[in-house]
């Protein structure tokens, strides 16, 4: 048996379905975002963990020059090492018939056994190369897909100077190659770095590694101390040219994945609460108004003998039904959106399977936040329900007191007609309510402006990077450090009009307990093509001694100019250097460290060497230039700036960055919800006045002016406030989106704010129109007889 009060409740909700729907939608959007973001973060973390576990990804990695297989026993005997495997890995060049630019790649050995070991590949198509085969290979699926290659196809490679034709037996994914990037590339790009797996004997033959290995992977026992194992490995492999063992978290592929996951985590902690807060605030405003408008009915119920508590519970139910509906819709939509997003990520990250695991905490957190906001709003107003006596509630209300608000001096008065005065006094009499509505709209505007600013910042940063920091048209990568005459050699190629030598050196940076695996970029003193820049986008000249750190690196190592950095060089003689930090450079992409090339070469005791050349050329001559350079033996690869820019844009749009588009849509939906509710509230409050005006002979547009004039003023106030708050939000978002891989600096982007403001104005016009339509339909007589 449904109580009459509950029947009333459901009818009331049905009557105000548009507004209730708008409120529930705003809540749902906040909840959706929270559930989606933390759900996809959770799922990605979980998928990564499960994938690593199932395919036995190693805990420790090391690359060396060459060690006899007998050393594997010593390595396996290190306390804490559970399993060790030696491999042969080598750089290759892949020649595709239709491609002029040589493609860099890597060949990895597969043990001559079917016993599963560490770093197992995940076969997606075809079969493994036969044991003992010397011309069969597995191909990395991402590369195969990007290049349209399939099992059965032939592949031309050049490895260690040997040209070889391989038959592709199958396609595979690997947990150590979730992301692949060619050496020197800023962003991973599946199409421009190929990986093949061949049986170990075949690969050993090519690289002269019979009975030896040049790469080892380790699994450790559960409670082993990783850094002690690493030290033990390094001391054994030092004489075999070990470049320093490193833990899984320093594996390039995993670093990319973790960077992306971390930036998702930061986003999911910073952005959805912001959205939820705006939603909660709006809810409070709307619910206050809703309860207030039921004044007379509250009196009536009390007169019948309902207690204040029962009456309050009745209204609280309405509030909670709306909130719960919003939460449920938000959770369902959030799970759906999360599923979709994780699907996109799975593709992007090359995971072979997907573990979808929504975050239980996010359901509880967002439900709690939404329900608290709703009930606080309700409770605040229900205090008044307790205070109201039935007789008082049912008497026609005394007109609201306007005597203390705006009085107009005669000069002003002549300029204002009566409807305008109604608008102004309506706003002035309840500044708090006006402010609350305005702030609600400003909140929506701020979210929208913040999001659009971030879109623009992404673009601006990439543009800035390629127009100021790296102005090269291409980068030539050599297989090994070459003499700087190579630069002069390249400069002679027709069509190339500028060449600058540079050197990339792998190194580990240390400051106390902090460390970072990265590299030093050696550049000319005052480079023209690729440069370090300061905060005002001016090039920083590289002094004859010392190192220039990029902002993220300086932050990570907690170093400032004047302090000293320890650098363990991982190549050549592998010296340990003590270098003064001379300046901090802005970094838009990556976390580089710069030195002057002569200083770097001096420190390495290898004068006059370079590993890359940055070139500028006439784009019309690109193909000839590429084929000329390709023929040079020491050239390992060739990076075209255009391609690099495209793959960066792809990374930002398809990775964690994809979430920002969903956030943008949600920001706009919330903004519309806020504005529509503001219009509805004004409409409810003004209905009687508006009907009176119509009775007096005011036309519909004239009467609507009083209503829409108020909305227009509230919106106009909201725009500058929202724009200022949007700027702050964009700063917060920029910090959230920035990572070691790319840094986003939010500036006040006029176009973004203009767009958000136009949206707010547009949403006001649509909301105004919807409300005016209701006004036109309103029954004058009934409207007049309702007391308030």
């Amino acid at each position: 048996m449904v109580s009459p009060l509950d029947t009333k409740l459901f009818r009331d909700l049905r009557r105000m379905k548009a507004q209730a729907g708008a409120i529930a939608m705003v809540i749902a959007m906040g909840v959706l975002l929270q559930v989606m973001m933390s759900g996809s973060t959770n799922s990605l973390t979980e998928t990564r963990r499960a994938y690593y576990e199932r395919n036995h990804l190693a805990d420790i990695f090391v690359t060396l020059t060459r060690a006899p297989e007998s050393e594997l026993q010593r390595l396996g005997a290190i306390p804490g090492v559970r399993q060790v495997e030696g491999r042969v890995i080598g750089g290759i060049r892949i020649d595709l018939p239709q491609e002029t630019v040589p493609i860099q790649g890597q060949a990895i050995s597969l043990a001559e056994t079917d016993r599963p070991g560490l770093n197992q590949v995940h076969l997606t198509n075809g079969t493994l190369p036969a044991i003992g085969s010397d011309d069969e290979a597995l191909l990395l699926e991402g590369f195969a897909r990007a290049r349209g290659l399939n099992p059965g196809d032939r592949l031309q490679i050049t490895a260690n100077g040997v040209r070889k034709t391989l038959r592709v037996t199958g396609l595979a994914q690997s947990p150590e190659l979730l992301f692949v990037a060619a050496p020197g590339e800023l962003a991973p790009d599946a199409a421009r770095f190929g990986v093949v797996w061949m049986r170990q004997d075949a690969l050993s033959a090519i690289y002269g590694m019979q009975g030896a290995f040049n790469d080892a992977v380790f699994a450790q026992t559960r409670d082993a101390n990783t850094s002690e194992i690493i030290d033990a490995i390094d001391s054994i492999l030092d004489r075999w040219g070990g470049t320093g063992a490193f833990a899984r978290e320093d594996l390039i592929s995993d670093r990319f994945v973790m960077e992306e996951i971390n930036s998702l985590i930061i986003m999911s902690r910073s952005v959805p609460p912001l959205f939820l807060a705006v939603a909660a605030f709006l809810l409070y405003i709307v619910i206050s108004r809703m309860v207030q408008s039921e004044r007379e009915e509250i009196g009536l119920l009390k007169a019948f003998g309902y207690t204040s508590f029962e009456v309050s519970a009745h209204y609280m139910k309405a509030v909670l039904i709306i909130a719960v509906a919003g939460v449920i819709a938000g959770c369902l939509l959030g799970v759906a959106a999360g599923r979709w997003m994780v699907g996109v990520y799975t593709q992007f990250y090359n995971f072979p399977f997907l573990v979808f695991r929504p975050d239980t905490f996010s359901f509880i957190f967002s439900a709690f936040a939404a329900l608290t906001a709703a009930s606080t709003g309700g409770l605040f107003v229900l205090r008044r329900v307790f205070a109201l006596t039935p007789a008082e509630a049912m008497r026609p209300p005394t007109p609201p007191d306007f005597s203390k608000t705006l009085t107009f001096k005669s000069a002003v008065a002549r300029m204002l007609d009566q409807p305008s005065r109604m608008v102004l006094r309506g706003i002035a009499r309840r500044p708090l309510r006006t402010a609350a509505l305005s702030m609600g709209i400003a909140g929506g505007m701020a979210l929208s402006a913040g999001m659009t600013t971030i879109y623009a910042s992404f673009e601006d940063n990439i543009d800035l990077f390629f127009s100021v920091v790296d102005r090269s048209d291409a980068t030539v990568i050599f297989t090994h450090p070459v003499g700087d005459s190579a630069a002069t050699d390249i400069a002679r190629v027709p069509g190339i009009f500028a060449v600058e030598p540079a050197r990339e050196v792998a190194a580990v940076f240390r400051n106390g307990l902090r460390s970072h695996r990265g590299g030093i970029t050696g550049l000319p003193h005052s480079p023209e093509i690729t440069r370090a820049i300061d905060a005002s986008v001016r090039p920083i000249p590289l002094p004859d001694s010392g190192i220039v750190l990029s902002v993220p690196l300086a932050n990570k190592l907690a170093l400032a100019p004047g302090e000293t950095l320890t650098v363990d060089v991982r190549e050549g003689r592998r010296p340990t250097l003590q270098l003064p930090v001379v300046a901090v450079a802005e970094s838009l992409l990556g976390a580089p460290a710069y030195m002057s090339l002569p200083a770097l070469n001096r420190a390495l005791k290898e004068p006059g060497r370079m590993t890359v050349a940055h070139v500028m050329f006439d784009s019309a001559e690109k193909d000839t230039i590429v084929s000329t350079l390709k023929a040079k033996p020491a050239v390992a690869g060739f990076l075209v700036a255009e391609d690099a820019q495209a793959s960066l844009e792809k990374l930002m749009n398809e990775g964690a960055g994809a979430a920002r588009y969903i956030m943008g849509v949600i920001a706009f939906v919330i903004t519309f919800g806020v504005i529509y509710n503001a219009a509805r509230i004004s409409h409810a409050e003004r209905l009687r006045d508006l009907a009176s005006l119509r009775v007096m002979g005011f036309t519909r547009p004239e009467a609507a002016f009083v209503l829409l004039g108020e909305l227009a003023l509230i919106t106009l106030v909201a725009i500058p406030v929202g724009s200022a708050a949007g700027y702050l939000i964009s700063l917060a978002l920029a910090a959230g989106f920035s990572s070691d891989l790319y840094q986003i600096t939010a500036t006040y982007d006029l176009a973004s704010h203009g767009f958000a403001a136009s949206f707010v104005v547009g949403a006001s016009i649509v909301s105004g129109w919807l409300v005016k339509r209701d006004l036109d339909r309103a029954d004058l007589v009934i409207a007049l007889k309702t007391r308030e």
């Binding site: 007191d401 005597s403 009566q418 009176s692 009775v695 002979g697 007589v781």
Partner: protein
């Protein structure tokens, strides 16, 4: 004698089918110009519905209602608005003043859009409230608010003043003051006053008394002499 309104077969049905409510069932009435007409009747007898149709707030389902030579039934929404703007004034039980405008501004609200209004001060003077012109409704008593509402309704110099329970929310002394103002408006400006009320005694101040019953005109009585509001038994 000129007539302000003529209706023939005026019918108003709310809703459809089983739920249909017949508010008016074929009303034929001639309302002479310049008189005070009081309409009496129980709740639901149709008196307010008739007033709303004549006032241009509502439309008849069937039949015709003429204001002078204008057939109200044929007017568009826009034309009805103009009709209300130019020819008629309303006074309601709950005053319906704009709380955000002073007494004077409430009157000016109408004079700004009327074709041939009297000055707002004169309208307020007519109801004896010129000295309260800068007061907001919240600073006025119920009777004063109702008198401002009347001033607002007459300021445009309408041909007809519609009053729906104008004394319904007032005590007897205040009610009398309001009725005095209505009578004054009728005498001094020649405005036709059409008043709907529950209080039968008010009929004594009317020229003509229309009793309504179940959506029909029950009887129409003409008072040879009219009492002043002071003489009315309340």
């Amino acid at each position: 004698m000129q007539t302000a309104f003529v209706t023939r077969g005026l019918t108003k049905v709310y809703g459809e089918g089983h739920a249909a409510v017949h508010a008016l069932r074929g009303v034929d009435i001639d309302v002479p110009q310049g008189e005070i007409i009081v309409m009496l009747g129980a709740s639901g007898s149709g008196k307010s519905t008739l007033l709303n149709i004549l006032g241009g707030l509502d439309r008849a389902t069937e039949g015709q209602a003429f204001f002078q030579d204008t057939n109200l039934s044929e007017l568009s929404d826009r034309e009805l608005t103009i009709y209300r703007r130019r020819h008629v004034g309303f006074v309601f039980q709950f005053y319906n003043l704009m709380p955000s405008l002073t007494a004077g501004e409430n009157v000016e609200l109408v004079t700004e859009i009327a074709e041939n209004p009297m000055p707002a001060a004169e309208a307020l003077d007519l109801v004896g409230l010129d000295h309260r012109r800068d007061h907001f409704p919240s600073q006025l008593s119920g009777g004063e608010q109702q008198r401002v509402a009347i001033a607002r309704a007459v300021a445009k110099q309408p041909e007809v003043l519609f009053c729906d329970e104008p004394t319904g929310a007032l005590d007897s002394a205040t009610g009398r003051a309001v009725l005095n103002v209505l009578r004054d408006v009728n005498v001094r400006l020649g405005t036709t006053v059409l008043m709907v009320t529950h209080a039968a005694s008010i009929a004594d101040m009317a020229h003509r008394v229309v009793r309504m019953q179940d959506g029909r005109i029950g009887e129409v009585n003409v008072n040879e002499t009219q009492k002043t509001p002071e003489e009315i038994e309340w």
